[in-house]
């Protein structure tokens, strides 16, 4: 929450982090997606970064950092990755994202 006037705040983007805070996950302690980051250095467009809707992939210089906790299991990164750097499984035991209003 900021000290902005409400009118102004309404027209402002909500940070991705805050947007995601509306979702419910039961995060599996074991990552369901594994990334071989060594392959990312040679990846030209790094499409996962702009296309992962929940921002699980971020760049840090030439490196790509990955965190699986906010994943909504859409599968996009698996499809767009040209380097086969991603090992992609569904979370088990009903864990992961729990959609309620979609």
């Amino acid at each position: 929450m900021s000290s902005q006037a409400p009118e102004e705040r309404k027209r402002r983007k909500i940070r991705l982090e805050d947007l995601l805070n509306n979702n419910i996950w039961d995060v599996d302690p074991r990552p369901h997606i594994k990334l071989d980051t060594s392959k990312c250095r040679d990846c030209n467009y790094k499409p996962c970064v702009l296309l992962c809707p929940t921002g699980c992939y971020t760049t840090h210089g030439d490196d790509v950092l990955f965190s699986y906790e906010g994943c909504v299991e859409c599968g996009t990164c698996r499809v767009v990755c040209p380097e086969e750097a991603i090992t992609w499984e569904y979370p088990r035991s009903g864990r992961g994202i729990h959609f309620r209003f979609s």
Binding site: M1, S2, N22, I24, D26, R92, S93
Partner: protein, 264 residues
């Protein structure tokens, strides 16, 4: 020989992302699904490992409204043998004293047990009282923060882990322990066990008809605790500053910023 183990399970709202309505300032509870208290899954894991090691059985018990069967199905899917849902309107509104009383009476009625395993605490109330209270109702030896148990036939050697040391206790059976949170990774639900849970449905529901407890000792009436007020701590806005430059430079800026903020 074999070990008969009882595990306590609480079915709690999954509030990992606590979302506060900006208009009303209250918790958004709409459609929040429940999960088995994550720390209880550690208790289940410990119990299952002991059963796998020594033989015997694991029974899960939960005092909760009827929708908690889904949580019991989840732990049955992990391999728990049998589950008892303790559910009755008169149990509603219980504080820890009334809760532990019902649980203790449930365990008494089950009768045959060598070990009771609880979670360290819950994510929705986190008093950590239940273990100790059930132990006193049943007059059992109690060790918390347990990470491992060795069965000696007439009792247990329980290893508990504190911040600075590891301790070992020798307990006579039956005994109660609570499993240290995060100490074990709970196993996954398997097709085989879930199928058994769904088809054989080894879940019993006990009401106060089965337990026959004095209504004045359970539920809201049996709860001496009065919650006078609940306040939410304000969400502290984060600054999200990214410090550029090489490592040395970035750390210098970070330290400077922390000093300016009065953090260090």
């Amino acid at each position: 020989m074999g070990l008969d183990i009882i595990v306590g399970i609480k079915y709690v709202p999954n509030t990992t992302n606590v979302n506060i309505d900006p208009k009303t300032g209250t918790l958004v509870r709409e459609g929040v699904p429940s999960v088995v208290n994550p720390h209880d899954l550690v208790a289940v894991e410990l119990a299952l490992r002991l059963r796998d090691r020594y033989g015997g059985s694991v029974t899960a018990i939960s005092m909760a409204p009827p929708h908690a069967v889904a949580g019991l199905e989840h732990v049955l899917g992990m391999g728990v043998d049998r589950a008892i849902l303790v559910s009755d309107r008169v149990f509603a509104g219980a504080d820890t004293l009334a809760t532990s009383y019902v649980l203790a009476k449930t365990i008494e009625k089950i009768g045959r047990y060598d070990l009771i395993v609880m979670g360290q605490e819950t994510i929705d109330s986190s008093t950590g009282h239940i273990g100790a209270q059930v132990a006193s109702w049943l007059d059992l030896p109690y060790v918390y923060y347990a990470i491992d148990v060795e069965y000696t036939g007439d009792g247990f050697i329980v290893t508990r882990e504190l911040e600075d040391r590891v301790e070992r206790y020798r307990l006579a059976k039956p005994a109660l322990i609570s499993a240290k949170m995060y100490s074990l990774e709970p196993r996954q639900v398997t097709l085989r066990d879930k199928l058994r849970a769904v088809i054989e449905r080894p879940i019993e529901t006990w009401s106060n008809k089965d337990l026959g407890l004095d209504p004045n000792c359970v539920g809201l009436r049996g709860s001496p605790t009065i919650v006078s007020k609940v306040e939410f701590t304000p969400k502290v806005p984060r600054k999200n500053i990214i410090f550029e430059g090489d490592l040395r430079e970035a750390v210098r800026k970070l330290v400077q910023a922390l000093v300016e903020e009065g953090v260090i």
